[in-house]
Amino acid sequence: MENRSRFTTLIMPPAIYLFLLFLLPLGVMLVFSFRAGTTGAAHNIFTLNNYRAFLENSSFQRLLWRSAGISFTISIISIILAYPIAYYLAFRAGVNKSILMTLIIVPTWTSYLLRIFAWKLMLGSTGVLNSILLSTGIIEQASPILIYSRTAVVVTLIYVWVPFVMLPIFSSLERIDRNLLEAAADLGCASWESFLRVTLPLSMPGVVAGFFFAFIPTLGEFVTPLLVGGAQGSMYGNLIQDQFMRALNWPMGSVMSLAMLAVVFILMFLLTRLGPLSELLEL
C-alpha cells in the first residue's frame, strides 16, 4: 500500500506531462484531421473530405511510399556499412575500443544542419568532389551530378546515420557470450560459419534497433531534402511541412501526418514480431 502511493507520487508528474504534451497533441491532431478548414467558420465543420482528398490524390501516396523506400534504402545501406565497424570494435579493437568508439561518435556532435550543409559543399558543382575530379582530369567540366537529386539525399543521410546505427549493433555484439564462439570453433565450425550461424543471429536485435534508429528520423526528414535534394529529392516530410508552413492547410497536413504514423506503426508491428520490443530498444 505504501509502495503504491510512492510509485504513484513518482510517476504522476512525468505521466501528466507526457499526457498533456505528447498524447493530447496527437489526439488533437486526429480531431483536426476531420476539420474542414484551418481557421474561420470551416474550422468548426467536421468532414471526411480531407481523407477522401488524400486517398484520391495518388501523388501523395506515391511520395509516401517513395519516401518510405528512400528511408528503407538509407537504413539498409547504413546497417551494411555500420556492421563491420561494430564488429571490429566488439571483437578486434582490443584496448583501443573506447578510443575508436569516441572517434566515430565525435563527428555526430557537430551541428546537424552544418554537417548536411557541408555535404552540399562537397557535392555541389563548385564543390570538393568536382574540384578533385577536375584537377585529376577525370572530368572536363564541373558537373553538379550529385547535388539536388535523390542520390544526394541518400548519400548525405547515410553519412548522418551510420554512427548511430553502429551503436545498437555494437552493444548487441558485446553481449554475445564469447564461449559460444569458442564452442562453435571446437565443434569444427569455420570462422565464417560461426559468424553466420552464431554471431549474426545473436546480433539481430541490435540490427533491428539500428534499422529503427535510421528509418524513423529519415522518414520524417524535411531539412536534408530542402538543402541537398532540390525538387527531385523532395520527401514526404516536405509535403507535411508545406501544409503547415506555406499552404496553411492544417487539416490536410494532419491527415498526411497520421498516414506517416500509420506506416511507422505498421512497420514497428511487423518488425517487433521478430523479438520483444524491450530487447530491441535495449531497455
Partner: protein
Amino acid sequence: MSKIKLPSIGAIYIFLICAVLYAPIILLIIFSFNNGTSLVFPLKGFTLQWYQKLGENAEMLSAVQNSFLIGFGSSLLATILGTMGAIAIARFNLPGRGLFLAVSTMPLVIPYVILGVSLLILFKEVGIPLSAFSAGLAHVIISIPYAMLIVSSRLVGFPNNLEEAAMDLGASYWEALLRVTLPIISPALLAAFLLCFTMSFDEFAIASFLVGTDTTLPVYMYSQLRFPTRLPMVIAMAAIIMTLTMSSMLISEWLRRSGQPPTRK
C-alpha cells in the same frame, strides 16, 4: 585468432570510415579561417575576421541566448521528470509500469516533424502563443526518454539496500531518496542533463515549427544558409559551438562511465 599486428582489412575499413566522417567537418573548419566570402577552392588565405565579427552580430547572439535558455530549461525539467520516472520503473513493479514505459519511450519512434506539427496544432487550439517557451516544452518530450534510460540504467546498477538502510535508521522514504539515492546517482543525472541539453541545442525540426519569433541558433543558421556571404560567420559560430559540445559530451560520457558499475564480460 592470429596475433600478428599488421593493418588488417578491418583496421583499414575503420580508417576509411573515419576519413569520410571527418572530411565534411574539417572542410567547414578550413572555410571558417578562409579570407573570402564564397565557400569555394582555391582558398584565399588565412583570417580570423569571421571569429572577430561574431560579437557584432546581435541577431546571432540573441539566437544563441534563446538556444541556451531553451536547452537549459528543457533539460532541467526533462532530467527531473525522467529521474522520477526512472526511479518508479526501476524500483517498483506495480500495475501501470508497463503502460508508462511504453508511453514515455514512444517519442523515440515518432518522427520529429509529427511531434512538431501536433504541438503546433495543440498550442493554436488552446491559445498558447509560439515562443522559446513553447519550443522548450516540446524539447522536454524528446528528452524524457533519454534521461529516463540513462538514470534507470544507473539505478539498476546499485541495489536499493542503501535506501532501506537509511529508512531503518529513521529516514522517511523521501528523505532516503533525496539524501542517499540522488547523491549516488548524481553522475548519471548530470550525464542525462548534458545529453538532453546537447540534443535541444542542436534541434531544428521541432523548433522550426514552434519558436515563433524567438529564433534559436539552428533556426537562425538555417535562415542564413541561403545567403552565401554570411556563411563564413555562421560556420565560425558553429566551430565554437562544436568545441563546446564536444567538451560537454566528453564530460557526460566520462560521468556516465565513471558512475557505471563494472560491466559483465
